[in-house]
Symmetry: C2
Subunit: 109 residues, 2 copies
DNA sequence: TGCTTTTATCGTAAAAATACAATAAATAAA
DNA sequence: TTTATTTATTGTATTTTTACGATAAAAGCA
């Protein structure tokens, strides 16, 4: 992207945007859905599950890990990933507060 | 961004990603928060409210409108924008279902 | 009609995101 | 130690996003 002028926005606005940006790609949505679905760690089968090259998946996993939404533990030659429960809950609170604002009762335009 | 291979993902995954992408910039988050805050239409003061150039704001508004999250009606020389209530509610349902999935009870990694 | 105000569009420079081949790194197995 | 397996990193071409100056378009006012 071009350079977003983050300094002119509040911390909350930037935080919401950062979370949203990581959900802004279907591959990462897919990875997260898979982690929820299997209800456990994913050890290595993500590349087969999603049809992207291994470096691409690794890059997406890194972004999710950088935001703290998933965690990975080394298990032999492979790495097991799962949802970071605490951080996911914290993210959810922030996003729900943004999405769940009261809509105006009156019709204006 | 580079080209996302949307054809290899489900409609839902692409829909979630599209909504998230539009929230993935603090300026658009700010615009939406302002629309909620004033609980009415915004007619022209968005450029002063947010510190970006007028064409930039116009571009962000267009993206929000393209996704149907806001609507605008012409009012003289200015245009009044507000949240599109039905579409916002629909978007919220999709996003909440994604964010509010059950976390695994067991600690795996 | 001519001028002002407000918003949209066009064009474009700069920066970021995406995808993947090539390669490195790390661990297990032989 | 050598080989195999799995994941991370590097490098890079392509595309998209962002921001804004310049300009057009649309409506009100003089």
């Amino acid at each position: 992207m071009g350079l977003a002028k983050t300094e002119m926005f509040t911390d909350l606005q930037n935080e919401i945007a950062l979370y949203a940006k990581v959900f802004g790609h279907p591959a990462r949505v897919s990875i997260l859905q898979h982690l929820f679905k299997i209800d456990a760690c994913v050890c290595g089968d993500l590349v087969n599950e999603i049809g992207l090259a291994q470096p691409t998946i690794s890059q997406h996993l890194k972004e999710l890990k950088n935001l703290g939404l998933i965690q990975g533990t080394v298990e032999g030659t492979s790495v097991c990933y799962c949802i970071h429960k605490e951080n996911w809950t914290q993210m959810k609170e922030v996003m729900l507060k943004f999405l769940d604002q009261d809509l105006p009762k009156s019709d204006c335009c």
